[in-house]
């Protein structure tokens, strides 16, 4: 995965970058399978490796598939590097406090998880605990997620329909908005 990210940063051919992004998502999905989180892995494989790649390719077909070479001020680059390093160090420092993977004493396992595992099937009749928590115990959260997707869809539709040429003269970018 680190190699994929390195390649994504270095490569100038955006088509290859998109493909590597898909590979990265697939690797992430495999990692999640190893961690026994099949539901999340399923989502990652379908959304990250599938749909995002297709959408990125669609975006590429509207632009060029070659990234422009840009020369940046070395001081600017050094500043970016500094910010990235400090943020990364802060994140690593924060992760030192986190419980170890699989630690039964971790707060997340001592709160409500026990109750879900013990009573989930009896209360909801759904053998897949992930579905029971997602849809029933955390119904509000999932409603919020659906609203996020709803809003995103509306936003994309608006963004595309706002660029229609029927609304007066467009700046001559040579593009013609189609019906979504």
């Amino acid at each position: 995965m680190a190699l994929t990210v390195f390649m994504v940063v270095r490569l100038r051919n955006l088509f290859a970058v998109v493909m590597l992004g898909g590979i990265y998502s697939l690797l992430a999905a495999s990692l999640l399978v190893v961690l026994d989180a099949v539901d999340v892995a399923f989502t990652e494989a379908a959304v990250g490796a599938g749909i995002s790649t297709v959408l990125a390719l669609g975006a590429l077909s509207l632009t060029t598939s070659q990234e422009n070479e840009t020369r940046r001020n070395p001081l600017y680059t050094a500043m970016i590097g500094f910010v990235v390093l400090v943020t990364g160090a802060a994140l690593v420092f924060g992760s030192l406090d986190m419980p170890h993977y699989g630690d039964p004493e971790a707060p997340v396992h001592r709160h409500v998880a026990d109750r879900y595992i013990a009573d989930g099937q009896r209360e909801t009749g759904v053998p897949n605990i992930v579905t029971a928590v997602l849809a029933s115990y955390r119904g509000f959260d999932t409603l919020g997620e659906v609203m996020v997707i709803f809003t995103a869809g509306i936003g994309v539709l608006l963004a595309f329909s706002a660029a229609k040429p029927s609304r007066g003269k467009m700046p001559d970018d040579g593009e013609e908005g189609g019906k979504p």
């Binding site: 297709v54 997602l134 869809g153 595309f160 013609e176 189609g178």
Partner: protein
């Protein structure tokens, strides 16, 4: 891409199975991995594959813009209204136990319905975004 015979035949063969798999993931989410989000994406990808192979115009005839748009709203509404029905039957908002005389059956029904709402919204949004992108290129 309409002149690629192999692609067309394979896509035609695959699309029904992709949709069937999406429905399986949708309604089997209670028992195995999966649920509305994944099923919606898979169902949407069936349309995207169709649009890629046969062209966006043809796909727009299969899934007209108004149907996709109302699908986005309908899924979210279905979710919200399920919660209201539970309230109307004397429970809390989104408390599916009130949906049926037997709380467990009510939970099962509620989960099934809201997952369907999630699936419809996700699939419609995926199709809408793809058509939006693909429709701009021409």
């Amino acid at each position: 891409m309409s002149h690629h015979l192999v692609l067309r035949v394979i896509a035609k063969l695959l699309i029904p199975f992709i949709m069937l798999f999406a429905l399986y993931v949708q309604f089997h989410g209670d028992y195995g991995p999966g649920g509305g989000f994944q099923a919606g994406v898979i169902f949407g990808s069936a349309f995207i594959l169709y649009a890629l192979v046969f062209g966006v115009e043809v796909a727009c005839r299969v899934a007209p813009a108004w149907a996709v748009r109302s699908g986005i709203a309908f899924g979210a509404l279905l979710y919200g209204v399920t919660g209201l029905v539970a309230m109307q039957k004397g429970g809390n908002y989104l408390d599916y136990s009130a949906l049926s005389a037997d709380p467990v059956a009510g939970q099962h029904l509620g989960i099934l319905v809201i997952e369907l709402g999630v699936g419809i919204t996700v699939a419609s949004v995926m199709i809408a975004i793809f058509f939006g992108f693909a429709g701009r290129g021409r």
